[in-house]
Subunit: 204 residues, 2 copies
Amino acid sequence: MNPMPQPNLMPTPEGQARNEEVFRTAASLMVQRGYAGTSMGDLAEAVGMTKAGLYHHIKSKQEMLFEILQFAMNVMEHEVIEPTRGIADPEQRLRNMIRLHVRVLFKHGLELTLLFPERRHLEPPQQEIIWQRVDRYQGLLRTSMRELAEQGKLRELDINVAASHILQTIAGIARWHPQGRGVAEALLAEQTVNFNLSAILKDS
Amino acid sequence: MNPMPQPNLMPTPEGQARNEEVFRTAASLMVQRGYAGTSMGDLAEAVGMTKAGLYHHIKSKQEMLFEILQFAMNVMEHEVIEPTRGIADPEQRLRNMIRLHVRVLFKHGLELTLLFPERRHLEPPQQEIIWQRVDRYQGLLRTSMRELAEQGKLRELDINVAASHILQTIAGIARWHPQGRGVAEALLAEQTVNFNLSAILKDS
DNA sequence: ACCTACCTACCGATCGTTCGGTAACATCCC
DNA sequence: GGGATGTTACCGAACGATCGGTAGGTAGGT
C-alpha cells in the first residue's frame, strides 16, 4: 500500500474531466444508495471503467467521501456564505442564505445534507473537520436570528431548534423534490424561504 | 433453503423478549450506521448472540428491515393518525399530529424518517407497501392544510412542499437532538409545532 | 524514454445465510 | 422416577458471493 500516494502531477484535460465525473457520479450514487450501499464496483460500472481504473483517480473510498464533503462545503462557503455574510439586514441575509442554498442543491446536485450523515464513515479527525465547517454555516443562521431577536422581530423560539428545522427543510428538498419532478426550482426556493421566514418572524 | 419458514409457533416469554430486543437493537444500529453499514455480525454482537442465533428470530436481514418499518408505521397509525383523525378543527388536528409525532419519536426511539430512506434496500413490492403507508400520513397533513385554506387561514403556499417541510423538521429532531442532548422533549415538541404552524398560518 | 489512464488478475477480509449440531426444558408413557 | 420424544433457543463451522484494494501490466500520447 502506497502510504502517501500523490495525486497525478500533470493530468490531461480529458483526465481531469474524467476525475470530476468520477466524483460527481460517486456523490450521486451515494445519495441514492448510501455510502456503504454503494460499492466501488457500482461506481466503476456507472462511470464506465474498472475498479482498478478508479484507483487512478482516488486514493480510497473513504478519502473520496471526504473530498466530496469538502467540495460540497467549499461550494456552500463560496456560493452561500460569502455572498450573504456581508448583507447588513439579518432578514435579507437569511432569505438569501436559504434561497442560495436551495439553488446550490439544484445547480451542483450536491445534496449535502443527504450525504452529511455519511460523515460517520470517515475517520474521527475528518469527521471533525466536516462538522466544524457545517457548524460555521449553522452559526451564521443562529447569528442572524439573534440579530432579528435584538430588533424585536423574532418570535419566541429556541434558536438552536429553529436552525436545525431550517436546515432540515432544505435537506428535504433533495429527498422529496428531486430535479425534474414537477415543482420548479425557483418556486421551491421561494416556498422554502417563505416557509422558514414565516416560521421565525413575528410580523409576516 | 426453507422457502416459507414459519415463525416459531410457541415462543417462550424469554424468547419473545429476546426477539423484541433483536428488532429494537437492529433499528437503533441502523439509524446510526445505515442498513448496509450495519452487519449481522454487528447486530449479533450488540444483542449478545451469534449470527446464526439471529436467524432463529428473523427470516432475513431485508425482511427484518421491512418488519421494523411496518412496526414503525403501525405505531404512527395507532399513536398519531388515529388519535387525531377525528379532530374537527384542522389547526388543532395539525398541532396534535406534529406534537404526537415528536412524542412517538422519543417514546419508541423510532426515528422513522431517519430509517425511511433505507426503504430502498427492500424489494419493490415491500417498498410500495411502506410508501403507501407513509403517503397516507402525508395525505392527512395535506387534507388538513386544504381545510385551513378553505377557511382562509392558510398562507399562500404549495401544500405539497409545505407537507414535506413539516415532515423534515420532525425528521431532523432525531438527527440534531438525540435523547438526552440538552433540549427537553416537551420543549422540542412545542417548538416544532409552533415553527410549523407559524410557517403555514396567516395570523400567527 | 516517460507519463497518463486505464486494464486483468488477484488478494485477504467480510458479507448474509445455512447446515448440522447441542443444551435445556416440557411432555408423555411405562 | 426415569426414559423417550419433541421443541425452543441458541452455537460453531462453513458456504458462495462480494467487498475494497493492489500488483503488474498495456496502449497511446508527448
